[in-house]
Amino acid sequence: METILKKERLSEWVAQIGARATVFAPAFADGIWNFCAVAADTKVEFDHGNTVRPAKGFVFPQREVLYRFRQESGKAPELMETLPAAAPTVVFGVRPCDGRAMVRNDKVFTCGFNDPYYQARRDQVVFVGLACSEPPSQNCFCLSVGGSPHSEDGLDVLMTELDGRYHVKAITAKGREIVEGAAALLDKAQAADGKAAAKAHADADKHPQRALATMEKVAAGLKEHFDSPKWDELARACIGCGACTYLCPSCHCFDINDEITSNVPLTGERVRTWDNCQFPDFTMHSSGHNPRHDTGARLRQRVSHKLLYFVENHNIQQCTGCGRCISHCPVGIDIVRVATEVSGQ
């Protein structure tokens, strides 16, 4: 379903949705772009670079209580499941790379075993994408990883900026619902609008981006050069922080820990938090043995997971080319360069 929204009515639309759901849109504060809850009277405008934190947090929050427990000394524990009572949430201004990441996250959290926490949120969150008319970051490379500045994957709605208006396309049932619910604000798109959108998309495809060789070549190269000394060389400056993966829209690793709130009686929560393959303890066995014992091995894991293992398992790259891990690496470690140099492509 394709419609047209006049730019000046954007805020109205947002406000209308806000009456039934929590709405988030990118806002610039403290020097960064972030998805922020939109208050009733906020004026929403889309001129954002990519948000620093990706959209994944809406479905996979950094901290999630899996369940609570309570145990009197010497007695059996009681467990209280805490599935999220997720409220309807609509997130505006999601870049296509983040949308595509959602497809990847779905693969992780809903294949094999269904993750009920993820699912509960996923069902309630509507992602309204915004096609990139120019790369929001100089480190973007979505085209190289099978995406595009106007990819619809994982999004519920895709908006494309045209002259003075947005081309609004509902993609999923969830998306249709919010578009249809605003029939009064949105005009049906004409053929010309469709054409204009297509042209905007085609123009965006022509904007220069960082580039990576094809999926197959990179994957093959990484596989072949698993033992390459380059990994160590390239990771020598790595400081082992978690900026790259925490900011990555498709990184999904987590840790599970118990947090005690009282000892008598024992009460607490089993909590899931984001975790990170760049941290040394991530894979460290209780014995101290660590299969990925240095930054080289950990860099290799991150890059290979994105561009090789995921390909082997799902036949798509996990990386969607958002460029965050490059832009925010404290020491300039660059997945495009690393993958290119190691794979010899």
Binding site: Q138, N257, F279
Partner: protein, 344 residues
């Protein structure tokens, strides 16, 4: 002005003479504006070394990281490491010397003076460019910084885009070095020392509280701030362990009895705890390289925490970190006339 050619030729000498195992310096990065750390091991690669206002990193960190790396190597190269160090970086080296973490003979310090300039603050640039990224930045003699962006060149007054730490810096040249490049410039005429921290201190209590709550709440605990800090070299951090020391000697009890001072959860309180503890641990040790603040992806003004204590240390205890490797640390010393009137 520091001539990069001088640095390169000294680096070449050192490498050709086999006097160092590597020269740790800066080169252009593929990731954006800022230079990136590089280990030059072959003398023909010295040409890749650069020196400009984008060389923000405090390379002293790698003295620490390299130590860990060397420990893991079977036949480590024990020749010293040459390192390019700005004023603040050299003070970091001094603290590492003071804490016996490195020995003077393990490092050849190629000190560079920031003279009348300093390094850019990407955050200020981002603000100035509204989130758009710059491609290069050069600080010239006239107190201007030229910034190239996709849509052309912009020139900013230095005070607009240089890092706060540089604006407030009073010792913009290395306090320890083997070779020094550039001139010692004492009068720089930017902002007064501790200007940033004073502006926060001037807020009302409620404002300050809200200010920090807002910031701490954002922290994703990526620990980039800790990882980049040369003083946070502990193998296992007391605050939140992402690295555990487990050796064949470590007993099950020891592992079982690790204290979880705070949880891994990113609740505002746990985040605040993390930053409080870290700030306390950096009291008298932080040399204000502001790297922690720079690397924070969500722009938490961490430097303020550390400089607030730096200010206290200076004003109350006449202590300046990183000036003298022989002095006892701030918290392992006292004077009889330390402030007492806050005590009931």
């Amino acid at each position: 002005m520091v001539a990069i050619e001088d640095i390169r030729s000294r680096a070449k000498e050192l490498l050709e003479g086999g006097m160092v195992r590597a020269v740790l310096g800066f080169r252009r990065s593929s990731a954006g504006l800022l230079a990136e750390p590089t280990f030059v091991v072959a003398s023909e690669d010295v040409a890749s070394l650069v020196w400009d206002a984008t060389c923000v990193h405090n390379l002293a960190l790698y003295l620490v990281n390299e130590k860990k790396r060397q420990k893991a190597e079977r036949t480590p190269d024990t020749r010293p490491l040459a390192i390019i160090a700005k004023g603040c970086d050299s003070r970091a080296i001094n603290v590492l010397l003071q804490e016996n973490h490195v020995a003077r003979e393990e490092v050849v310090i190629l000190g560079v003076s920031c003279e009348g300039g300093g390094v850019v603050d990407t955050r200020k640039l981002a603000d100035a460019l509204r989130g758009k990224e710059a491609a290069s930045a050069v600080c010239d003699d006239t107190g201007k910084v030229k910034v190239a962006t996709a849509s052309g060149e912009v020139t900013f007054p230095a005070a607009d885009v240089l890092a706060d730490r540089c604006l407030e810096c009073t010792i913009a040249y290395p306090s320890v070095s083997d070779t020094m490049f550039g001139e010692k410039v004492d009068e720089r005429g930017f902002t007064a020392r501790f200007a940033a921290v004073k502006s926060i201190a001037a807020m009302s209590e409620q404002e300050r509280s809200a200010f920090w709550d807002g910031h701490f709440e954002r922290c994703i605990r990526c620990y980039a701030c800790r990882a980049v800090c040369p003083m946070c070299y502990c193998d296992e951090c007391v605050v939140d362990s992402t690295s555990f020391i487990v050796s064949p000697m470590t007993t099950a009890e020891e592992k079982a009895n690790r204290i979880r001072w705070i949880q891994r959860s990113t609740t505002p309180a746990d985040n605040a705890m993390y930053h409080m503890v870290r700030a306390m641990h950096l009291a008298g040790r932080c040399i204000d390289c502001a790297e922690c603040e720079r690397v924070c992806p969500v722009n938490i003004p961490l430097r303020l925490l550390n400089t607030s204590l730096e200010q206290e240390a200076l004003e109350m205890f006449e202590y300046t970190p990183g000036m003298d490797p022989a002095q006892p640390s701030l918290i392992s010393s006292f004077r009889d006339d330390d402030p007492n009137d806050f005590i009931r």
